[in-house]
Symmetry: C2
Subunit: 524 residues, 2 copies
């Protein structure tokens, strides 16, 4: 009766009743408890296995809920379902020959790799001094508004009907309307029909690459620049051409030179807050970029990811606002203002392109989660998002100032750091002599995490830089964290010896190419 | 003062105050109301535009919330932000030359098109007798459980912290655990590390195509078969090879013949409930398919989309349950059991492949919406989903029976319809003489919608079929809807003249290739 090979695992996070139910379910599905088999009385099982009787009864009920057993009053519990007769599906003779997957991958499959920073131990467990990018402060989230907005679609008949019917691959219509209206703030005049909702800004980038870029095509990217754009371009087999960034943004003179010698399929930029340096692209550069796009008939992808977060300058309109001829593909997101796991973004593009993007997204995943879209539409319509943005803008402004001040005060000589005018990162050039691998260990030992600079360089350079975000920690933690980080840098060989020659070298030559001017205001 | 060109639009769904705020915001962003400009007093604006004073005050407040104006007590409201000096971003000289997008698309971009059935009027507005697939019954949704589960992540500090930090591209760990446990019901023994969460089953299909299929590679698909798989394969530039389906599922003899002459990169199947015929793949065919996969070293994609919904047969385990050598890529979804806008699915695959899939999904969109994942994990852990599935299984069983009976009783001679053993569709072969275009009009005129058969044929065939879903309508509406549909078929020329020869022809030869046996039990 009890020869079922069940080994309860105590102290784990799966309740014992659940473990028993799962074990019995597997036996039933494998045909080892055939249909009609009477399960032993719960009392006997409980006694034999040393379990509470309620645990066993609960397990039987779970099996009944799954439709695997049925009960008859006064007779007991019987196995109700089992594999189809013969159980053939579970019995190919022998194990067969294992597939050699490596030989089966497509070129696109071979090209992709999950960046180290996004797998394994680095993701696991909380870090006391977390300066990594893309995270937000949980305490600053408008929890009450969010709970209400996410539950709301289920609370009206109209909401439920909308969820139950087919979704529009262009996006939830009320959300498209809200986005179109809101874009007036960025100087963009558009109708809902010009807007497509996507599952985050990264999907917008990937779809544009998919629709415009063939393997071997050239894509121009900021250097240093956002890793997501480089990943998506590399995933399409594109040639990645880095264009230098200085304190006015993308060096359009360099881009012009490039466009003269090479046909480029797409130029990717972050004008409102260059990622990772936080530089705002100057009006002159914007004009030059639009003129180049026109002259060479090259589409420009404007990643407006952090337009909510701007420091020390009045808002500049989007590049798209000056795009008269439809060269600019504009994309934004709600993840930065709210939280990273919210996968909702939007694209504004000329309709010919927009329809291809939506067709492409339709076969990719049909559409963006509707509850998220409905919740966001609610937050926008009730101005809840705007109130939140005003709050975090003040909050993060103070944190930005604190981080910059702490770096100035505490980092060893030879360190340079950006003065971000937008975004959520400070870009730090480490003093000469800092060993990047050693720094990783020393920082981890001090419970400090940061985003390594290599991530912002498609060519593996950038190890002498790090990006520090100021969104997660409060000002006191920022100061304490920078003290620890500075100690880690010293322990990793950076700026420990303060010889004049080294300091001068550190000041003259930030080691990676392509970002000399943007890492402004070196600490003296 | 009031020469701002504002035209209030009354009777629309945008409040007047919002309209005014948006209009002023656009003027500010465009530089037409320079920084420091004093806005006219609300009283004057209200009088001049014929608006309530509260409306105007509300509009000013909205502008303040957006950071576009600031107020000083006793002095008034002033424009606070404007485009950067010079406004260069909005002033490239002339409109420039419009981009010729058609010449810029990649091969993948040119290949995609949004299927007609998923755009335009067919999506718009409710239909009284809606037999289209992929929808569910709003009244059957567990609204209370869903509202609670979706609000829950925002209601605990741990939940908020998890939302605020970085997401795991493999999926929300508690959800991966729940899925791994639950798969025992399908006979699949796996660990959370074998599972990746994706944004719906379509994303699983698209990612597998991306990672395994190069342009020109062959993909074998069921014929008739699921349109999403064909779209994704076509989107990769694959050669689509249709393999006939009969009442035992995929014709493995045909597949064997194909594999002898052509290297195939992927075989796509729906064994639990063939889409659209509802056939369950027989044990013999399953064994044959696994043997072929082994012999030719071809991966098999098992789309287990509707495993919850099974009629008249005991559950068969998944094909994956018998996959000893790791040839089967298994994918499932929660959208069918819950609602279509819920974009959460999962893949179980050998780890070498799973890591490529996740790397590929990471660059596509970083990850699946975390609130949806957390809500589902809650629904699974509390058994709320299982209770719901048991309920809808009973509900839909009655509806399936009602639809099949109504079709038998009411459709004109020459109609054949499937007896689905799984899934949510009945596959109907229309009587000879039915004009598909005419039928669309006649059905629309009778407020009846269905899924046209062409969607399930990659080669444009299938016009003499339709798929009718039984998930949205109750049994009474199903009967009434079938009466209307039958009238539409007659009006479209199908089965009106009952000459013996025609009836015999209709019985002998359902017109499209590849699905002769599965459309069993013709009405006599």
């Amino acid at each position: 009766v009890l020869d079922i090979g069940f080994q309860p695992c105590r102290g784990g996070d799966v309740p014992l009743g659940r473990q028993l139910a799962d074990h019995l379910a597997a036996l039933i599905m494998a045909g080892r408890l055939p249909v009609g088999t009477r399960l032993p009385p719960t009392r006997e099982v409980a006694a034999a296995l040393g379990l509470g009787r309620n645990t066993v009864t609960g397990a039987y009920q779970q099996l009944a809920t799954r439709g695997l057993v049925g009960g008859e009053v006064g007779r007991g519990t019987f196995v109700a379902a089992r594999p189809v007769a013969g159980g053939t599906a579970t019995a190919p003779r022998g194990a067969g020959q294992e597939l050699g997957w490596a030989g089966l991958f497509s070129r696109a499959g071979l090209a992709v790799r999950l960046p180290t920073a996004f797998r394994g131990a680095e993701r696991d467990g909380p870090v006391a001094y977390d300066f990594r990018g893309g995270r937000v402060d949980a305490d600053a989230l408008p929890a009450h508004d969010l709970a209400w907005a996410f539950a709301r679609p289920f609370r009206t008949r109209a909401g439920l009907r909308a969820l139950a019917s087919h979704q529009d691959p262009f996006g939830w219509p009320p959300l498209r309307r809200e986005i179109a209206t809101r874009l007036a703030d960025r100087g963009i005049v558009c109708e809902p029909a010009d807007v497509a909702v996507v599952s985050g800004l990264q999907q917008a980038i990937d779809l544009v690459m998919r629709v415009l870029v063939d393997p071997g095509d050239a894509v121009a990217l900021e250097q240093p620049g956002y890793f997501g754009a480089a990943l998506a371009a590399a995933g399409r087999g594109a040639d990645l051409l880095g264009v230098e960034v200085d304190r006015d943004g993308l060096r359009t003179d360099r881009l012009a030179r490039l466009l003269r010698v090479r046909r480029v399929k797409l130029v990717y930029v972050t004008p409102a807050a260059q990622s990772p340096t936080g530089v705002v692209m100057s009006p002159t550069r914007r004009e030059a970029l639009l003129a180049l796009a026109n002259e060479h008939q090259v589409p420009v992808f404007e990643d407006d990811y952090d337009s909510e977060l701007r420091w020390t300058t009045p808002a500049s309109p989007a590049l798209k606002a000056g795009d008269r001829a439809g060269h600019v593909i504009y994309a934004g997101t709600f993840s930065k203002a709210l939280f990273p796991g919210l996968r909702v973004g939007y694209v504004v593009a000329p309709r010919a392109l927009l329809h291809r993007l939506v067709a492409s997204r339709f076969l990719s995943d049909f559409g963006t989660a509707v509850v998220e879209q409905a919740a966001l539409a609610t937050l926008l319509a009730t101005r809840g998002l705007e109130r939140h943005v005003r709050r975090i803008r003040r909050l993060y402004q103070a944190r930005r100032d604190a981080l910059v001040a702490a770096l100035d005060a505490q980092m060893p000589a030879g360190t340079r750091c950006s003065r971000p005018r937008g975004g959520h990162l400070v870009w730090v050039s480490l003093p000469a002599g800092t060993d990047p691998d050693r720094l990783r260990q020393e920082a981890a030992a001090r419970d400090v995490a940061y985003t390594p600079g290599e991530i912002f360089h498609a060519d593996g350079a950038g190890a002498e830089h790090v990006a520090l975000a100021f969104t997660t920690l409060d000002t006191a933690a920022i100061r304490a964290g920078v003290a620890r980080f500075a100690a880690a840098v010293r322990a990793a060989g950076g700026g420990t010896r303060r010889r004049r020659s080294e300091r001068a070298a550190g000041r003259r030559a930030p080691a990676s190419r392509g970002h000399r001017k943007e890492v402004a205001d070196a600490r003296r």
